[in-house]
Each structure stands twice: as structure tokens, then as C-alpha cells.
């Protein structure tokens, strides 16, 4: 007896039509349709698509609740061992539908689910919640995607332990899997370096987290009327570190008044930062927070005013989430105080 699978595809892959037919309501067909054939072939009789749900991409997006309820009812009737959707490649609404219907089926029917799409597909936002195989951005990648998805699907149906994302081809979902590399770290590192030097592709084993972007704000129109604030991640604090900002992994920031202060000196200020040699900053804290020259610019009339307060924390090992929260909070204070622009210094 082979495993039972229900497959979800859109109107395009069911050959109903393209964008002009994206409004079609879901229908249930017996057996495989279109790309389902590739899965059936790869399973070699061990598993089989018993039914295929076809749904228009716009229909799913516009009637998500109804579509989910109808599809869920059909899938339940089929008593499948696995629900598979797509692959959607870089089709946005299709990818969204695949990931979301998978999640619904998994949550409601408690059977394994699997889909596939391009990593930039908006549906891939659910990669931590639904198992998603990374595919190319066009249907030309079907030949590569089908065997990967089919193999992973079979493992899920058999209840086998999954390997790491890089071995199995699914998008990293934040769950660590331990495995032994064939080569030791130094050999891998040297190979990576040689590839890099030769301009060849290489895959890092420690990718930088991805950061979102914020568009630049318009420039300051008239500096001579502007209030400029100083902020730092270099840990400059009044001597004695009155608020006990930690030397690393700071849990808070400091707000200090510099009204009437023309120069930061070794007697009055210091750094709390534990991630760099503090000798130079402690000798002359202006080397990190340039209050002295800002005062000169203020006297000259180059800037309107140096803001009365500076904001400071220690950037050493401090979590991005903490730094984000600190700055989001003090940026509001800066705005409320009528500050026009900010100079942030980092060590």
C-alpha cells in the first residue's frame, strides 16, 4: 500500500489559464494534475497523489477564509498522509497561498505538509512555521525542485528525522540539526578563502543576519539654525558611570545633560565600554564624543545649537533588539525636544 498525498496547485499549473483565470474558485480533481506527475514519478509507487486541489491565485487571496474552509474539508475526506503544495517559484500570490494553506492543513489536520518556492517569494515569510523547499525563481527549476521535494515528502511520511536544511534543501527554519562535516573546519575555511580569492562562488557557514533598510531622511537645510544632538555606542558616561551601564551586553542607555559643558575631560567623563582599549577615551572623552568641537561650531554659528543632552550606551555585544529599542525610545525624546539631526559615533 502506498502513502496517500493531496496536492495543491493554482489555475496556471492546472492549465485553466493565466492571470485572466486567477479568479476561479477551488475545485477538487481525482489523481494528479500537471506538476504532480513529477512527484508521482519520483516516489516510484511508494506514495501517490490521490487528489489535486486547484484554486485561482486571486480567489485564494481575496477569499482566504472560504478557500481554506473548502480545501480543508476536501483534504480531510481524502485522509492523506501528507499535503504538498506548489512549487510556486517566484509567483507571489501562489506562494502565499501554498504556504498559508499548508499551515492551515498542518494546524487543523495534524499531518505533515510541504511546499516549495523561491526564497524571495512573499510566501517564504512563513518558512519558520511551514517546511518550504528553496527553488529557483522560475518554473524552469521544476526538474531540480521535484526530486528534492519528493524525497523530503517521503521522509516526512515515513516519520524519519530530517537532516539539516543545507542537506535536505529546505529553507533554514531556525531549528538546529547536528551533523558531522566530512572535512574539518580548517580545510573548509581554506577552500572558502581560495574560492573567494579566485572570485569563485562560496557558501559561508556563518551568514550575517539580514537587516532591514530605512531610506535616508532629507538633508538639513540650514545648519546655522539647526539643533544637533550627539549620540554614541562608545560608552561615554559621566565619571563613575552613575547608571551602571554594563561594559558589554548593555541593558540600558544613558541620557546626560551637557548644558554648559564645553569640553569632556578625564576628570569628568570616561568610557564604560569593555570592548576596546579605554585608555585613549578616558584620557580625552572628546575622542569619542566630540563635545569640544561642537561647542566651537556653535560659537561660530556654523550650527544653531548643540542639544543639551547626549544619549549613550555600550555597543559591545549588545543585542540588536536592545539597541533598536534604546534608539527608538531616545529618538522620540530627540524629536520632542526639537532636535533637527544627529551625529552618532561608534568605536
Amino acid at each position: 500500500m502506498s502513502y496517500r498525498v493531496v496536492h495543491y496547485i493554482n489555475q496556471f499549473f492546472a492549465q485553466i489559464g493565466g492571470e485572466e483565470m486567477a479568479h476561479v474558485a477551488p475545485e477538487l480533481r481525482k489523481g494528479f494534475v500537471g506538476p504532480g506527475m513529477a512527484f508521482n514519478q519520483a516516489w516510484k509507487g511508494e506514495a501517490e497523489i490521490v487528489a489535486t486541489v486547484v484554486c485561482g491565485d486571486s480567489y485564494f487571496a481575496e477569499h482566504e477564509k472560504d478557500a481554506k474552509a473548502q480545501i480543508l474539508a476536501w483534504v480531510k475526506e481524502q485522509k492523506p498522509d501528507l499535503f504538498i503544495a506548489g512549487p510556486a517559484f517566484n509567483a507571489g500570490r501562489y506562494g502565499y497561498a501554498c504556504a498559508n494553506i499548508c499551515k492551515t492543513v498542518e494546524d487543523e489536520l495534524h499531518i505533515p505538509v510541504l511546499t516549495g518556492m523561491y526564497e524571495e517569494n512573499p510566501g517564504a515569510d512563513l518558512k519558520d512555521k511551514v517546511l518550504i523547499v528553496a527553488t529557483t525563481n522560475s518554473a524552469a527549476g521544476m526538474r531540480k525542485a521535484a526530486p528534492t521535494m519528493a524525497a523530503l515528502a517521503l521522509k516526512l511520511m515515513k516519520g524519519e528525522q530530517l537532516g539539516a536544511s543545507c542537506e535536505e534543501g529546505y529553507m533554514p527554519n531556525g531549528i538546529r540539526r547536528n551533523f558531522f562535516e566530512k572535512e574539518r573546519g580548517s580545510q573548509r575555511a581554506v577552500k572558502m578563502l581560495l574560492n573567494k580569492l579566485a572570485g569563485k562562488p562560496f557558501v559561508t557557514e556563518y551568514p550575517m543576519p539580514s537587516f532591514d533598510r530605512v531610506a535616508p531622511n532629507p538633508a538639513v537645510k540650514d545648519l546655522s539654525k539647526a539643533t544637533i544632538a550627539l549620540c554614541t555606542s562608545g560608552g561615554i558616561v559621566p565619571k563613575g558611570n552613575p547608571d551602571h551601564i554594563e561594559s558589554s551586553s548593555a541593558s540600558h542607555y544613558g541620557e546626560y545633560c551637557i548644558k554648559g559643558v564645553n569640553d569632556l575631560t578625564a576628570e569628568t567623563y570616561e568610557t564604560a565600554h569593555g570592548g576596546y582599549d579605554p585608555v585613549y577615551a578616558n584620557e580625552d572623552p572628546d575622542r569619542v564624543l566630540p563635545v569640544d568641537v561642537m561647542r566651537e561650531f556653535e560659537r561660530e554659528g556654523r550650527i544653531g545649537k548643540l542639544h543639551d543632552y547626549f544619549y549613550t550606551t555600550v555597543g559591545n555585544g549588545t543585542a540588536v533588539a536592545s539597541a533598536k529599542a534604546f534608539a527608538a525610545e531616545y529618538a522620540k525624546k530627540l524629536l520632542a525636544a526639537g532636535v533637527d539631526a544627529v551625529i552618532m559615533t561608534s568605536t
Binding site: M208, F211, D212, R213, V214, A215, P216, N217, P218, A219, V220, K221, L223, I228, C231, S233, G234, Y276, D277, P278, V279, Y280, A281, E283, D284, D286, R287, V288, L289, P290, D292, V293, M294, E296, F297, R302, I303, T313, G315, A323, K324, F326, A327, A328, A331, K332, L334, L335, V339, D340, A341, V342, I343, M344, T345, S346, T347
Partner: protein, 78 residues
């Protein structure tokens, strides 16, 4: 932090030595500085020379704040 300040609606210039990190975290206006433990100074110089250097760097930062940018921009100090 630069990004959150920018997000709040304030133009911000990031003065730092390791500019690739500044690029990675998403600062839009960047002024390269001297060294990690003394970004705005150089203990090898006399006090007057060092002050002049700091003035030049901060002056560049002010220029950055008054310059319209579309993308992440590094304002080299001449």
C-alpha cells in the same frame, strides 16, 4: 541605532572606523574615522593637531547632514 533614529524621521550621520559594519547595519550617511579606540582623535598628535583633526572630521559629518543622499553614502574625509 542609526537606523532607528533615521526611522524616527531625523537625518543622522554615523561616524565610525569600521565602515563595512556601518553599511551592513544600514546607516545612510557615513563618515570614516581614525581608529576604533579613538575614532575622533589621534593620541600620536599634539593636542592642537588632534583638535584640528577632530574639527575636520566633525565638519565633514555636518556636510554629510546637509547633503541629500538617495542611497548609503560614505563621505570620505579629504
Amino acid at each position: 541605532m542609526v537606523k532607528e533614529i533615521e526611522r524616527a524621521g531625523l537625518p543622522v550621520v554615523h561616524m565610525c572606523t569600521v565602515t563595512p559594519i556601518s553599511m551592513t547595519v544600514g546607516a545612510n550617511r557615513i563618515v570614516p574615522t581614525i581608529a576604533i579606540p579613538h575614532p575622533l582623535g589621534n593620541p600620536a598628535l599634539t593636542h592642537e593637531e588632534e583638535y584640528a583633526l577632530r574639527k575636520k572630521l566633525v565638519s565633514r559629518a555636518l556636510e554629510a547632514l546637509t547633503t541629500e543622499v538617495k542611497d548609503q553614502t560614505i563621505f570620505e574625509v579629504k
